[in-house]
């Protein structure tokens, strides 16, 4: 049973998507009169996807719990913004969100593709048809058999956070935007348009760079601020599988700039565009098919779509590899141009190589469970694997990103380069000296810090140089590189110089941690709008007092204990208080607890205790009372060989009052008494508390514990540089996006590619066949 309007919209999307592909194909074959039909078919496709999304959203808002998806992820007690976010809380909804953004982006793609519209749109639509087909099979509009539940299961409390509302949509805009450079690249291979696709696709690669990058950072910030993972990056498969396509996209952006200027590295860019799209599909397969279920923090249950995901991935991989192989020898390669090693072109190529190598290594690590499963024992790599390999790559990238601001396309001599960058090297040295004075000793981190600071300064000077010449609009790359330097410095400093202490605060007893004094004051009870929190007084040496409220509460629906850190932020230092454990305190306890399961015997100090049976007498409850009497039958076998039967009473109160459990003597053992302190009918178990059975009385005594809160206190210096550097990097990306979009609008791309470039008179190594293709 299905909710038919939604299902109809999905099937309509599938139909119109295919129709648009077919008509665009006819346009490509010369039926130019069909262009408006093809566009209308695409508009109908987009409208259908939007309609399906609206239907799902309406069902969620109207609490239609007879719909399985609505029932599984939402409930009536969710505030409105979380209700919206339940749309993408499950697999089907997030696939729909991906298609929704894809179909909307497509409306801009067809306008920007211009002379390449037909082939680009065919490939572009194809990238979403597979997911639409998955949604036809695994519909979010499945109905539950009646009667309809009155309330839903609700949203996982871990996802009930403001970031959940914004982070996934941005991520899926990034995912969807990756289809655009891919569509341009495939159509370039198909139509042998080796250079013409680049100016049109650059803005789109930058869109992916900015959206995917922003989404990755948001995820990291969410993890840091709310989830209390301690850090902002844990090398989890879900994080990695979005980082890898982003690295390929970043490499692609650089490669495209290079191709625009130099008209070379055509194959590199075609491969990179395919790689960034293929890795997003591969990542989707890894995280959604359940193959990583035992290895990841995020796990998705296999919905039975693994085969579909593998087929989609296989299809696009074969298409990319096949087309590249087919065209490999036909891609024109220009004669070598002599430049020194210290030239901009070489630096770009080196940077691209490092991005790709890093992406491949991360991909390898993330795929470890899959790869090792093939050869035997499934294994995974530790996070040190990523840290070890990412550090040298980051170092290289920072060096290149700094020096590139001072080398021209023609090349520079080492002496020139040194003279020009001297000032920045001093800035780097200053950062290292400062760090040494503050106690930094780790040589690797000092080297990284030196490079990061110097690189940031070099690019800062480049931006100023550009701005002075009135070309600030062209400084996007340098601006992004400043961000890289700042961010790297932040990663190093906040990571290497972080100090963590674990401590237990006894209520009302001040404890000194570093230069601060912490006192746990009380538990602040939660309300409908606020979660239960722990009040901690933070006093600095200077006498300033502040209060921190790390949250710790039990989710009423699931009984899960949730803990959110409290971060006391300042410009230079984050003081991170992560609650670990709350102990409400216990009065002193005398006795020894023993758990017995029905029919088994346990020997305590030589005396055997056999739990035979218990009888629950519910007659009082039946008559409206609120207690249940449980009689526990035991057989006791003391060391002297005798055998005794005993029955212990336990009265359980339904109103939550203290159960009544009188102590009885342990027959045959002088001075020993016992009582039942807990019964668990479902497990068939009781817990006995024995007193006086042991000769060593001290072993039965447990001192009272006081109300206390265990905290993990971390000082993270300069973590703001990580966020700040990232903003600068994204600002650089946006600036470049503005410039390249303007450029693309003006760009005149020949309908067919000329076989040689006038700028370079030398003939291409491989003869090029130029054939007229599409004319619009």
């Amino acid at each position: 049973m299905y909710f038919w309007p939604g299902v109809a919209a999905i099937w309509a999307a599938l139909f119109f998507g295919l129709a648009a592909m077919v008509t665009y194909f006819l346009v490509d074959r010369g039926r130019h009169d069909l262009l408006s039909v093809a566009r209308s078919a695409y508009a109908a496709f987009a409208t259908s996807v939007v309609a399906a999304s609206v239907v799902l959203m309406m069902l969620l808002i109207q609490h239609r719990f007879d719909v399985a998806y609505v029932n599984s992820y939402s409930s009536t007690d969710l505030p409105f913004h979380f209700l919206i976010s339940t749309f993408w809380a499950g697999q089907e909804g997030s696939f729909l969100l991906w298609c929704l953004f894809g179909s909307l982006i497509g409306l801009f793609v067809w306008r920007s593709a211009k002379e390449q519209e037909a082939p680009v749109m065919i490939v572009y639509i194809a990238t979403f048809i597979g997911i639409i087909a998955i949604l036809c099979k695994q519909s979010p509009f499945k109905l539950l058999p009646p009667p309809a539940p009155t309330d839903g299961v609700g949203l996982n409390p871990l996802l009930q956070d403001a970031w959940m509302v914004i982070h996934p949509p941005v991520m899926f805009v990034g995912f969807a935007s990756l289809s655009v450079p891919f569509a341009f690249a495939i159509s370039a291979l198909w139509k042998k348009r080796w250079d013409g696709w680049v100016p049109r696709a650059i803005p789109w690669a930058l869109v992916s760079f900015v959206t995917l990058g922003t989404a990755i950072l948001m995820g990291g910030y969410w993890a840091y601020k709310t989830l209390g993972w301690g850090g902002y990056w844990g090398w989890d498969p879900v994080e990695n599988t979005s980082l890898v396509p982003w690295l390929f996209t970043t490499a692609l952006v650089h490669g495209m700039f290079l191709q625009r200027v130099k008209k070379r590295h055509r194959k590199v860019n075609l491969i990179l565009a395919c790689a960034s799209f293929a890795t997003i599909l591969y990542g989707t397969f890894l995280t959604r098919s359940g193959v990583l279920a035992d290895f990841s923090v995020h796990s998705f249950i296999d919905l039975g779509i693994t085969g579909w995901l593998v087929s989609i991935l296989g299809f696009f991989l074969l298409l990319s590899i096949g087309l590249i192989a087919l065209r490999w020898r036909r891609v024109p390669v220009l004669e070598e141009e002599e430049t020194g090693l210290l030239s901009r072109g070489v630096f770009f190529i080196l940077g691209i190589a490092v991005f790709c190598a890093l992406a491949c290594v991360i991909l390898l690590g993330t795929s470890a469970p899959l790869l090792t499963r093939l050869s035997g024992t499934p294994s995974q790599v530790q996070t040190t694997f990523y840290n070890k390999t990412a550090a040298p790559a980051a170092l290289l990238l920072a060096v290149l990103s700094g020096l590139v601001a001072f080398v021209s396309w023609k090349g520079a001599s080492a002496r020139e380069l040194f003279v020009n960058t001297r000032r920045s090297l001093l800035v780097g040295a200053a950062a290292v000296i400062l760090s040494l004075l503050l106690g930094g000793r780790d040589p690797a981190s000092l080297v990284l810090l030196f490079v990061a600071a110097a690189a940031a300064d070099m690019n800062l000077r480049a931006v100023i140089r550009k701005a002075k010449n009135g070309k600030f609009g062209g400084a996007g790359g340098y601006l992004a590189h400043i961000g890289v330097g700042i961010m790297l410095a932040g990663i190093v400093v906040s990571g290497v110089y972080a100090r963590t202490e674990r401590l237990t605060l006894i209520k009302n007893e001040p404890t000194k941690v570093g230069d601060k004094t912490l006192t746990f004051l009380r538990v602040v009870p939660g309300s409908a709008t606020r979660k239960q929190a722990m009040e901690v007084r933070v006093e600095t040496a200077g006498g300033k007092t502040a209060y921190a409220y790390p949250k710790m509460y039990v989710n009423s629906k699931t009984g899960q204990l949730m803990a959110n850190p409290s971060i006391r932020r300042s410009a230079i230092l984050d003081y991170y208080l992560s609650p670990q454990q709350y102990d409400p305190g216990q009065p002193e306890k005398v006795g020894r607890d023993v758990q017995l399961t029905r029919g088994t015997t346990q020997s305590i100090e030589g005396t055997g205790f056999t739990f035979r049976e218990f009888n629950a007498d519910r007659s009082s409850m039946m008559q409206g009372g609120n207690e249940v009497l449980v009689l526990t039958d035991l057989t006791i076998t003391p060391p002297d060989g005798s055998k005794h039967d005993a029955t212990v009473r336990f009265v359980y109160r339904l109103d939550g009052a203290e159960p009544e459990s009188p102590e009885v003597e342990v027959p045959g053992v002088a001075g020993a008494v016992m009582r039942v302190v807990a019964v668990s009918p479902s497990d068939g178990a009781v817990v006995l508390r024995l007193r006086g059975i042991s000769k060593d009385r001290a072993s039965e005594f447990q001192a009272a514990t006081r109300e206390s809160l265990s905290l993990e206190v971390t000082r993270k210096p300069l973590i703001n540089l990580v966020w700040g550097g990232f903003y600068v990097m994204m600002a650089g990306g946006l600036l470049a996006l503005v410039k390249r979009t303007r450029e693309a609008r003006r760009a005149v791309v020949p309908v067919s590619e000329p076989s040689r470039e006038p700028a370079f008179p030398s003939p291409p190594a491989v003869p090029v066949t130029a054939r007229t293709t599409l004319t619009t």
Binding site: S72, Y73, A89, G90, Q91, V153, L155, N156, L158, L159, W229, G230, G231, Y232, W233, G234, V297, H298, S299, E336, E338, T339, S343, G345, V346, I349, L350, I352, A353, V354, A357, C360, V361, L364, G365, A368, T372, T377, P378, S379, Q380, V381, Q382, F385, Y386, K388, T389, G495, A498, T500, R502, T504, T558, G559, L561, A563, Q580, Q581, S710, T714
Partner: protein
């Protein structure tokens, strides 16, 4: 430009070589309790929690508990942290660490819950110290 390609290729090869060696070094296999006892490196084991066995020592701030596999074998685990959320309701617990002194000294626990939330994020990892999980 050709020189540039060669340097790039050399860099990439070096880097992938570094990646492959540390891949070998840091691989943590999923092992049975018996295999884990023989292993010297980092391993991960999975088992159900024996609910009567878990103790949290406030003084040392260490958690110890026993995992039981489907065959009934026991594996004591020591973890330098507090009880993760959902710990008591876990269907199974994955402990990642080294086998030393007759027990697994875990650096990380993965708690798998009988979640009503089918789909996303039913588990969380609990790195034992802030620096250990990444950066």
């Amino acid at each position: 430009m050709k020189k540039g390609y060669w340097v790039a290729a050399a860099l990439a090869v070096l880097f992938v070589g570094l990646g492959l060696t540390s891949f070998q070094k840091t691989l943590t296999p999923y092992l049975s309790f018996e295999e884990a006892k023989k292993s010297k490196g980092a391993v991960q084991v999975m088992g159900g929690l024996d609910k009567t066995s878990d103790r949290y020592d406030t003084a040392t701030q260490q958690l110890s508990f026993d995992l039981v596999d489907p065959q009934g074998n026991r594996m004591p685990v020591l973890y330098g942290g507090t009880r993760p959320a959902n710990f008591k309701d876990a269907v199974s617990i994955v402990a990642i660490g080294r086998y030393r002194n007759g027990r697994i000294e875990a650096e990380k626990l993965l708690v798998k819950c009988p979640s009503k939330y089918q789909g996303s994020e039913v588990e969380r990892a609990y790195p034992s110290d802030t620096g250990g999980s990444g950066i």
